[in-house]
Symmetry: C2
């Protein structure tokens, strides 16, 4: 029998859950995805989690006895130290689900529990964009803006499981936009994919010249953040303005993290990273103007590297951390 240490990470999302085995060096093997189907209830959900973990281990030709620890990442709201999902908007009708205890009892293997965005940050820190740095901040750009902070192998999860809710830092007081959280002025209300589309629709309404965004807007679902970035890259002036403003908003968020955490690296993940290096360069340009010279020059600004695997890899990293603590 090999001495290699293996960990299983499970990333539970509103639509699918994904599990994979990761070795002690952070190298993932092939992963398994199953539909979450939250409407079938939380008992079903807990069993589905175990099934996904079991399949991930079997797919890789391993036995459960070879797994040193398991990590599970879920969306909030949650009680991280308690191992509970509380009242997650993306997993209705689940409520107060004892995820960690259930998984740990099912397999009799030590199990770690973490918020999904924190896990993604820890995954990128362990074996993605942040590999080798001491501290890293992640912004994930999707329907919302998620975040994770890792400093010296410590995930900043906060005392009440609200650490690194970076989409909900306030960046505007005079004319604050309404955020998906029901409050005003949050970064997410400016820089999420959803907000990019909302801002494009508003800009179109008062735009006199021609823009390729007009035709997209009339087709309903065709006006996506991705389409706006594509049209901007093709030279559309209005789309370019929306993209430039998005870079500015993200630079404000980045600057705040440089002045609060002062990490080695700020990483952007999520669908918007398809915009490529030119978009990152726009963010960097604004940061150089907005931030103190030293962190603006020294902090690296990069894209995430693990894609949608970051969550399960980070969950496995949490499992590894738990295992190392128990072994030391």
């Amino acid at each position: 029998m090999s001495d290699t240490l293996y960990y299983v990470g499970l990333d539970v999302g509103g639509t699918t859950m994904k599990a994979g085995v990761v070795d002690d060096t952070g190298k993932p093997s092939s992963s398994v995805s199953l539909p979450t189907e939250p409407h079938r209830g939380q008992e079903f959900g807990l069993e589905r989690m175990c099934e996904t973990i079991r399949k991930a281990v079997a797919t890789n030709g391993l036995r459960m006895e070879q797994i040193a620890a398991i990590g599970v990442a879920t969306p909030g709201t949650m009680d991280i130290p308690g191992g509970l999902i509380l009242d997650p908007p993306n997993l209705k009708p689940w409520r107060n689900v004892p995820v960690r205890q259930h998984v740990q009892d099912a397999f009799e293997i030590p199990t770690a529990f973490q918020n999904d965005a924190n896990a993604a940050a820890y995954g990128e820190y362990w074996s993605g964009a942040g590999k080798g740095v001491h501290s890293m901040v992640l912004f994930t750009l999707g329907t919302g803006v998620g975040g994770g902070i890792v400093v010296g192998d410590h995930v900043v999860e906060g005392e009440h499981s609200h650490g690194a809710e970076l989409g909900h830092m306030k960046i505007e007081m005079t004319a604050p936009r309404l955020c998906g959280c029901g409050r005003y002025g949050c970064l997410e209300a400016y820089a999420s994919a959803t907000s990019v589309v909302a801002r494009a629709r508003e800009a179109l309404a008062s735009y006199a010249a021609q823009s390729a965004l007009g035709a997209l807007a009339e087709k309903g679902d065709a006006l996506t953040a991705r389409a706006i970035f594509d049209v901007a890259a093709a030279g559309d002036a209005l789309a370019d303005r929306i993209v430039e403003e998005t870079a500015y908003y993200l630079a404000i968020g980045t600057t705040n993290m440089l002045h609060i955490i002062d990490p080695n690296m700020v990483v952007f993940g999520g669908g918007m990273i398809a915009a490529g290096e030119p978009f990152l360069e726009r963010i960097r340009r604004h940061v150089r103007r907005l931030a103190f010279p030293v962190p603006a020059e020294k902090a690296k600004i990069r894209y995430a590297q693990l894609g949608s695997d970051a969550g399960f890899i980070g969950a496995a990293a949490c499992a590894r951390q738990l295992h190392k603590r128990k072994s030391s």
Copy 2:
């Protein structure tokens, strides 16, 4: 000879430096202050630091051999791991001053080095308002807005000595105020004592009714943040508006820290705390509206307790941390 462990903390400011002995439980004994006189040059300054430390030890009837470690806190800019003051605006003409090495060589005692606001936060965490909590954020309200973050006995000093520069988080984009740092939209530009006075002068200029602030403004130096808070407490409507807005700005800063660090406690220090409990209650009220319900309800919002001793006590806490690391 007693087994008690003693540490010396030295807090270097632009006008005076203050040193005191602190025991292993965080209890400070009497302190010594000497003028910094930065204009006399950095060689003089380094010798003055040693003199202040020596006097603090002698005043308390101790010998240097009884000191387990020394901690020195200074204003920025600085290289914390390198033990250097770089180019501090409040200590001109000092430049690239090897503070830690000099003090350590002079006494042959292990010496720690920290930013003054970080040290103040660590002091309040160790033996002031934050005693017993796991994590704490400090805002110091003076000429500027300083900050410190402590999570699990770890001071968030950042990778480039720019951690917890909380006065320079951006909170406004549409009509951003000019900050003392030369950039725009920083919290400091809204909520420092200096900014409170500037905002009061602006408000007076467009205020039609009578306000007691008018007479103060004509007397030049009489319009201070303290005076504005006093006049507000006496019922002046315009002054009350300025105070209320200040509470709102600080609540924005607090909310951002609840959503980024999610600490057990947020502490306010500096001259403005003379405004007392009613001002803190105004901040809390805004936070309950601005922040997520769980951290808004659970995080304690308090005033600092150590006054101008926080810096040297925190510097001593850094000395203690260094000693414990070396001993373990």
